[in-house]
């Protein structure tokens, strides 16, 4: 049924992505592809995988943006411009437009935990859900002819055969910078909700009216290099040296 759940889902499972700590290593991208090509549904195919024009279905991708403040310069580290690495996957929206446009009932949002999924046995591969998603979270698998999307690793998070520490999405488990967090955003006392409240977590494209569950934590304000420069101790200065170094300083002065 491609109507959205009539009541707010009791749980809102989703991700919180920290744009301050993401280093843009793409480990989550590779880990996602690895897990999901052997997990839920058909494999995530690639076309021309070893050729020049390689392309394929991925459920998570990292973009990199340059942000230039008002009046800022774009001259490497001297200017104010900064690079923000930006991982993007399905946001499991409360008002998911990809679900309601589906003509077959293949796309659905689970009423228990809010996860948006595709039933691949019902998908006709019309691609309308990918058009409806403003974020580009869905990609067609050209080999299977069905739509693929992030499942929030549904085959990990409830999987009791895994160690408890592994019952989180593959991207979260693998992130070496701890920039990805998984939890229930419907519970105001969950760790992710507290993180969002403390760091001012934000929605992507709120104007599209999709009410995304996933939140992004903005990069912390950064001091410019020029501003920090005067706090650096100068190498030539020996003022304030104590003990052995004060003695050495004096001795070397006398020689």
């Amino acid at each position: 049924m491609t109507s959205l759940p009539s009541l707010p889902t009791p749980k809102k499972l989703g991700l919180v992505i920290d744009l301050d700590t993401c280093v843009g290593c793409h480990a989550c991208v590779v880990s996602c592809k690895e897990w999901n090509t052997g997990g839920y549904g058909s494999a995530l195919s690639d076309q021309d995988p070893y050729g020049a024009d390689v392309s394929g279905a991925w459920l998570n991708r990292v973009h990199s943006f340059e942000v230039v403040p008002e009046g800022g310069e774009v001259v490497g580290e001297a200017g104010q411009a900064r690079i923000v690495h930006f991982p993007k996957s399905c946001l499991h929206c409360e008002d998911a437009p990809c679900v309601t446009v589906c003509p077959t009932g293949a796309s659905y949002k689970r009423s228990a935990d809010g996860i948006v999924l595709v039933d691949e046995d019902k998908c006709i591969g019309c691609g309308l859900c990918a058009w409806a998603c403003p974020y580009g979270a869905r990609e067609m698998d050209l080999a299977a002819g069905v739509m693929k999307k992030c499942t929030l690793c549904i085959d990990r998070i409830y999987n009791e055969t895994l160690e408890e520490v592994d019952r989180v999405p593959s991207c979260v488990r693998t992130c070496p910078a701890n920039a990805r967090h998984f939890g229930d955003l419907g519970d105001p006392n969950s760790a992710v909700s507290i993180l969002v409240a403390e760091r001012g977590g934000m929605d992507l494209m709120p104007e599209q009216g999709t009410k995304p569950v996933n939140k992004y934590l903005p990069p912390r304000p950064r001091k410019s290099l020029a501003e920090s420069a005067h706090t650096l101790p100068l190498a030539e200065n020996t003022e304030g040296a104590k003990g052995f170094f004060a003695w050495l300083d004096g001795m070397l002065d006398r020689i």
Binding site: H63, S64, F65, P97, V101, P103, C126, Y135
Partner: protein, 307 residues
């Protein structure tokens, strides 16, 4: 947006077919004339070819029957359901004309209404998408309906000159709808050009309060499904040229030809040939218009891809 050939064929041919079927349903052609019987067959053929073509872009066309199930929420599903329901009165009307030379008011009128509803559902597939701002306007269904009506009357004029009906009223109605369709389309296009983007790289990344956001690196060096499907771009100079080609071929040429034929009056081989040329020009023009409808529309996902 990527202008898929199968979808352009589908929307243009089914639009023409539903337009012609609608005109036939309003009893504007003599049901006993051979020309009208041919018109019924052509309308059904155009609709069928269009609908079959729409299945051409599916990844799993063998499951297409499932698309009839979600009419509560999905315009694509509604369009599928309506297209099948509409076949019932259209087949009854066609059978009454072809086999018995009669016009049946109830199936005729019902068929005309359902044709309009089906075209409306088709247009709403696009108009309902907030992610494609150019399409997300009530003008989109108005354009689709007026183009279907214009195409229907242009085709009906061909059959009128072939002996099926009034050779002044039908061409004049065709001209009225041609003018209305292209005038509305002109407004639609002006709206698209004047649009202030709803979503920007700043809102897409949430980084707007730090500063201006520019894509530094795509996630990968080659194209992907999203950039192929949503990132289609057409050179501005070509778009303007194509728009003029669409307007001339799809609007000016058929209107002038039909006006001349209506002024001269009479039926026969020459008027039919000229009216057929007018219909072909109209279809070619609408084909280009539909190509631009996709090619010029920008999808919000391109905010993440620097497009």
């Amino acid at each position: 947006m990527h202008p898929a050939f199968s979808i352009i064929i589908f929307t243009t041919l089914s639009g023409l077919g539903y337009g012609l079927a609608g005109v036939l349903g309003l009893d504007l052609l003599d049901p006993a004339a051979t020309a009208t019987k041919c018109a019924h067959a052509l309308a059904l053929a155009l609709i069928s070819v269009g609908l079959l073509s729409s299945a051409g872009h599916l990844g799993n066309p063998q499951r297409a029957w499932r698309a009839f199930s979600q009419w509560r929420s999905s315009w694509l599903s509604r369009e599928g359901v309506m297209s099948i329901i509409t076949f019932v009165p259209l087949l009854v009307s066609a059978w009454a004309s072809i086999a018995e030379g009669r016009y049946l008011a109830l199936p005729g009128f019902l068929g005309a209404v359902l044709c309009a509803v089906t075209v409306y559902c088709t247009s709403m597939i696009y108009a309902s998408l907030k992610s494609v701002q150019a399409w997300h306007t009530p003008l989109t269904p108005v354009c689709y309906l007026l183009f279907a009506a214009a195409g229907g009357f242009v085709l009906a004029s061909v059959f009128a000159f072939a002996g099926g009906g009034n050779t002044r009223v039908l061409p004049l109605l065709a001209i009225v709808f041609l003018v209305a369709a292209w005038a509305t389309k002109l407004r639609w296009r002006k709206r698209m050009k004047d649009l202030v983007p709803l979503s920007t790289p700043e809102s897409a990344t949430g980084l707007g309060n730090i500063g201006r956001v520019r894509l530094f690196e795509r996630p990968h060096v080659t194209e992907n499904y999203l950039t192929r499907e949503m990132g289609f771009k057409v050179a501005r100079k070509h778009a303007e040229k194509l728009w003029r080609i669409a307007l001339v071929a799809g609007g000016v040429v058929p209107a002038v030809l039909l006006l001349a034929l209506a002024a001269l009056g009479g039926q026969g081989t020459l008027p039919v040939t000229i009216a057929s040329l007018a219909a072909l020009a109209h279809w070619a023009g609408v084909f280009v218009e539909r190509w631009l409808f996709f090619a010029e529309a920008r999808h919000s996902v391109m905010n993440y891809y620097g497009g």
